[in-house]
Symmetry: C2
Subunit: 406 residues, 2 copies
């Protein structure tokens, strides 16, 4: 077998929790992160929740000498929060905004306003084409009754499809981000199974960091202790995934997570722990076989499971569309009745004016308000139904293709 | 040179103008279209503006025997309107919804509600991988003062980027659709230059149909005559574009358009004319060179021109964001003043009650209405600014890459 030189790549991934006005000690943490990244000299840095473009610009200015190439992905109202810093030139970029991402009226959660997306940057190192994806999926606010599961599954499916369709000319695929899914969740099994991506934590020869590779741990001073109560060790929701296409192999030599504040610091970089992987990439003598770690009957089961959840979400969305539509019709009827009554008074049919003017006006305004709100909700849930239906249909096609394969 | 067999592919493209309740003689036209497609036996049929899923299902049922494979792309409130019928198995699909697509409050135009997108279907014929794209860009309602130009340019750019990033493993790329751009417009020059796609009308050895290949002609009984007044021959806004990647060549042997009603019919299929191309695909002995017909200095000029227009759109969007934000603040101030006055009356500071109750309430409701509307607009225009800014930035990167190329 021929011997080819090995490329060693150090990748850093972190959900920075840098929400302006809301995140504690944000500027201090971003400054510390910048100092550390400059010191450590990674090859690739994938960040999420850098919501403020000013924070990105500050990091860019600080890191210019060691990471001369960078990209910030803009989307949604607040921004996608996604950015990449690289020691190697970025050849091209593409952004894909997920079609579903929570509800605009869930202001307390706010995911809708972020325009959650996946960003792709293409990088060439020593002649090897890397497709690097950075993403952040919808948060899970209540694991027992997760109202956002169908949306997160649509995102996981769109992420998998986007990676598959855009990485066909790549030699190596890297994906880093906060997927908001535990390792055994259906969404991550779907993503891994459908793309063939491997989990750096599972594959790592050497691991150092929080137990079980957790990235949201109770010992971090910024995490919500009550949410993590059922998980005394914490949860693992931040990932570095990879695979080699064509004639390359990728091995994860070492995986690390941060474990709270670095030595000499009194504050961790974020409420999440960072994930750091050292990957070895080598050209092989002959083309590697399929890197998919999932046998196809299992993959069909995973797609079926995901499709069932999306179907359940579809039925909920259809009910919400119906309710909001009915509410709009009722408000419209009320307005029509009021208009008829007002007309009656005007043409002198009912000179007694049985209803006080003020209440009459208040009622009309209420009806107009409800009509506008219900119509808006109806439009929104119609779009939701369309996208859930479309995804369910795509999954059905995928299942058929899996079953037809010899 | 080796001799390889030639594959002959007949492609049909039409904007069907099949809007439920609005389009004239819709069902009759869809039926006639189905009959003709069954008779003509094309290889690939790319349709736009099939807004009703029922129309799609009817076509699917009618065409099942000659086009056994089909896909309908769902998006937006009404649906993307895009669908594909194929004689060959569809291996995979992907939908990309454009990030900007008009304004929700422009109800009379309605583009926003359609969720304009590009759909990709992957087809394999005789071992050749075809990436087939079908799309429909934002309409142009006033050519002299085209308020939607920046949005259409963002769409053209996203379309070009999507084609480039997803077609790297394809042998042949085909794109059909209503691009709502004249052949000399900056958007189509950008799309062709940035992807290397060639225009079937320009390349065709033999042409038959409306003069200059026009697809929206005054002689069609459904077209708006006043809009077409400056163009006595009509305009060409529906295209079939193609290119070969890797070691293939594509030639357009024949291009046809419909010319109003077919013989024996009293109604055309749509307000648009259909475009029909016969393509010859041949494997070459050696890899073909770049198929880009545009020299790079020219391409840089086109990207610069497009970037200028997107920049102008960005400034308009920024002004609208500012105006709506200011309006929201003023409405909020009015509400606060009213709340203070009401509080004054309640605590007995002003027992005289200087303002009639009814007017007071009406004013409060008006302020709440304006606040909600202005806040919604502010959120929308903030997203618009983000996406225009992001596209401008991407175009800047592309320009730098073009200039740096040796």
């Amino acid at each position: 077998m021929e011997s080819h030189p090995t490329l060693r790549l150090r990748v850093f991934d972190l959900n920075c929790w840098a929400i302006r006005y809301l995140s504690k000690r944000r500027q201090e943490r971003v400054r510390l992160l910048g100092d550390m990244l400059r010191r450590e000299d990674f090859d690739l840095v994938l960040l999420q929740e850098v919501w403020s473009e000013q924070d990105y610009s500050d990091l860019k200015a600080k890191l210019g000498s060691c990471y001369p190439f960078s990209h910030y992905f803009r989307s949604g109202v607040i921004g996608s929060g996604l950015c990449v810093f690289s020691r190697f030139p970025i050849l091209d970029t593409l952004l894909y905004q997920y079609s579903l991402n929570g509800y605009p009226y869930m202001l307390q959660h706010g995911d809708w306003f972020c325009g959650k997306s996946v960003g792709l940057v293409i990088i060439k190192i020593s002649g090897i084409i890397f497709n690097v994806y950075v993403t952040h999926l919808h948060a899970e606010y209540c694991r027992e009754k997760d109202a956002y599961l169908p949306h997160r599954l649509v995102q996981a499916w769109e992420l998998a499809q986007f990676v598959r369709h855009t990485s066909k000319a790549a030699d190596v695929v890297l994906l880093g981000g906060d997927l908001n899914m535990h390792p055994e969740d259906v969404g991550i099994r779907l993503l891994r199974g459908w793309t063939g991506l491997r989990d750096a934590f599972v594959e790592a020869t050497h691991f150092e960091g929080c137990e079980d590779g957790c990235t949201l741990v109770p010992s971090n001073c910024f995490t919500g202790k009550s949410e993590l109560q059922p998980f005394p060790l914490g949860i693992r929701i931040d990932y570095i995934l990879y695979k080699a296409i064509s004639s390359f192999t990728v091995k994860c030599e070492e995986l690390k997570t941060t474990t709270g504040p670095a030595p000499g610091m009194d504050v961790p970089f974020s409420d999440h722990e960072a994930v750091m992987a050292t990957l070895h990439i080598q050209r092989q003598g002959q083309a590697a076989g399929s890197t998919s770690g999932t046998a196809e009957p299992t993959l069909a089961d995973v797609v079926t499971e995901a499709r069932t959840e999306v179907g359940a979400g579809l039925r909920v969305a259809q009910r919400q569309r119906y309710s909001s539509g009915r509410m709009a019709v009722l408000a419209l009827l009320l307005l029509l009745v009021q208009a008829a009554a007002a007309l009656g008074v005007l043409v002198g049919l009912d000179a007694g004016q049985p209803f006080p003017k003020l209440s009459f006006c208040l009622l009309a305004f209420l009806a107009i308000g409800i009509l506008a709100l219900a119509a808006g909700l109806h439009v929104f849930h119609t779009m939701e139904v369309k996208m859930l239906h479309g995804t369910e249909e795509q999954m059905r096609m995928a299942l058929r293709a899996l079953q037809e394969r010899p």
